[in-house]
């Protein structure tokens, strides 16, 4: 464990597994493009995203709002409205191609092979149905069982996610649950069909910090029990250090850095990742020592030419020939380590990080 990971607000509680060669990918995203035609033009939300994820591993997708992290994950469940979305590329989940899947196949796929935990459990649960009712509905959508059996399953699931007195709570409505308990119920609902892929879209953003840690632990524990692959969307690098095996950093609809968590947080190679790390306030740091990224995320309607990050990048002058503004870098290994990739023209980015950025970090 390097000292950089410890700097994050939450301490690392588990050692990420190293990726063993030959692990078969359960989720495979290949050259995914997601666009929304609007009156002002095409919103290019995701542009050529590729990654893969085997079972029992957690991938954290990190980025600012509008970087395409949620949009790409919604596409994995086929949740975009076909009429108003243009999707190309390939998403394979357990060998099934999701892009262009028929409505009927999507129905049996959603919830059973892949399930999603949403950001705000307050608005993501239906206010007029009981918690039990909503969990039972998920279960019965994929299992031909009686209501009684489905209810027993719902009670069992509520118990497993740590809700006390589940047989009473199963009859209650979402508004009778606290925020943390509601998110637990949401997790129970997502896991009721034993999905092999779990997508968690900022599941702790709407929660108290103390509850956050509990929910993260719960997701990690359940992942171990269920042996599923987890895609964890967040903008909180502290959460990433806690839960992820791999990190995918997204900017302007593309991946800019991808690799194992200890390497990316230890020696990040992309100026955008550096910016993210420098933006984390240190609890014991000097006040005013924050070094935020200048500017704001690019408009998805008019992406900058070349590298999407170049207008905000402090290091673009070090690349000769105005390359940053004219040529979009490839997502390839930039150092001797072939297990990680980044999308930046900068020469020897590891040296730049160690000599310049590291000293600035609190």
């Amino acid at each position: 464990m390097t000292d950089q990971t410890v700097r994050a607000p939450q301490t690392v509680t588990r050692t990420p597994r190293t990726r063993s060669e030959g692990e078969e990918a359960y989720l495979e995203v290949n050259d995914l493009h997601v666009q929304f035609p609007t009156a002002d033009g095409r919103v290019q939300a995701v542009q050529g995203l590729s990654y893969s994820l085997p079972l029992r591993r957690t991938l954290a997708i990190v980025g600012e709002s509008g970087s395409g992290k949620s949009v790409s994950s919604m596409a994995i469940l086929g949740l975009h409205d076909r009429k108003s979305t243009w999707i190309s590329g390939s998403i394979k989940v357990g060998g099934k191609e999701v892009v262009g899947m028929s409505e009927k196949d999507l129905m049996s796929y959603r919830g059973a092979d892949a399930a999603m935990i949403f950001q705000d459990p307050q608005s993501s649960l239906h206010p007029f149905f009981t918690i039990g009712d909503q969990i039972m509905e998920s279960y019965r959508a994929h299992h031909n069982v009686s209501k009684r059996a489905a209810k027993a399953r719902a009670v069992d699931m509520l118990g497993r996610v740590g809700i006390p007195n589940p047989s009473r709570r199963v009859e209650q409505y979402p508004h009778e649950f606290s925020g943390g308990m509601r998110q637990r119920a949401m997790i129970a609902m997502a896991l009721v069909n034993d999905p092999k892929l779990l997508i968690a879209d900022e599941p702790t953003t709407a929660l108290d910090v103390t509850v956050q840690a509990q929910i993260l632990d719960l997701i990690a524990d359940l992942q171990r029990d269920f042996g599923s692959a987890v895609v964890f969307i967040t903008h909180d690098l502290g959460v990433v250090a806690e839960i992820a095996d791999d990190i995918l950093v997204m900017y302007g609809g593309s991946a800019v850095e991808h690799g194992p968590v200890e390497k990316i947080l230890g020696t990040p190679l992309h100026p955008y990742t550096w910016g993210l790390l420098e933006s984390i306030p240190a609890v014991s740091g000097t006040p005013g020592a924050l070094h935020p990224i200048p500017g704001s995320p690019p408009s998805l309607l008019a992406m900058p030419s070349g590298c999407a990050f170049h207008p905000r990048c402090e290091y673009r002058d070090r690349v000769g020939g105005d390359l940053c503004a004219t040529l979009k870098p490839e997502l390839i290994p930039r150092t001797a380590d072939l297990g990680r990739t980044s999308r930046c023209h900068l020469k020897e980015p590891d040296k730049v990080f160690e000599t310049e950025v590291l000293t600035r970090l609190p």
Partner: protein, 325 residues
Amino acid sequence: MLFYILRRVISAISVVIVTVVVSFMLFFVAPTDPAGVICGPRCTPERLNDITKSLNLDQPPVEQIVLYFKGIVVGRDYTSGGVTRHCDAPCLGYSYVLGVPVTDLLAKAVPVTLSIVIGGATIYLCFGVLIGTIAARVRGTTLDRVAVGSSLVIGSIPYFVVALIIALYATFLPKSQYVPFFSNPVSWAAGLLAAWLCLGLTNSASYTRYSRASMIEALGQDFTRTARSKGISERRVVYRHGLRAAMTPVITIFGVDVAYQLVNTIFTERIFQLPGLGLRILNAFNQYDLPVLMGGVIVGATVLVVMNLVVDILYTVLDPRVRLG
């Protein structure tokens, strides 16, 4: 909950009592000549005397009101043309114009109005919500524009014009008449069909728009996305999750509309010749029949107050987050 209902019933009763007192004062205590008005143009001194005595118009106002309320609670006697008749509780007064107790008159009219409104409301609620939901599902398409456009057109035509068109041109419909439900349900429905269609068609326009807007909002909610992510059919997402959430505001408007129509179906009753409450009150108004008007006010106030209570209680059933107490 029980305590809440009890409290609401008490407040409802007091609203009705205040309405009765205020309208009683306007009709009978204000510096007008109620006895002369009730007696009519061909009035004999004896008849005027009868009326004054019977309605206790020679007594102080407070005494008059107390006697009126006493009539509602235990009944009272009226003298007309030398004959004394007993008016059973709840006695709302005596119509000298028609020579019958007001209660009997209104009791005959209320089922007519109730039949018209229940049938019409069923039509516009079902039809409006159905079209609105479909329009919301296909929003932006031609079908949606046709639904919204025609609802705007129908909604802009004055109600009585639609009623007249149906009364004049829809001659294939059964003749409009009122047959009590319990004497012959089929004739009851046939006789009211024209009125139902008229009320149902015109009002379904606004319900189409309410439900469409409400449904579009519900389908854009996070819980709809959650429902979709479960792997249930789109039909189930729309009708179980979406419609359930979309109906709460629509039902609220519906309750108020029904209450309003129960005391305001004058056009329908007049055009389709159905002897309901609205027509009764309209006639009383033309004939200066103060006791009947007074009774109409009491019935109207009661209907409004009761419907409001029903909507509030219905709300707790529809939305579990609303707890009364």
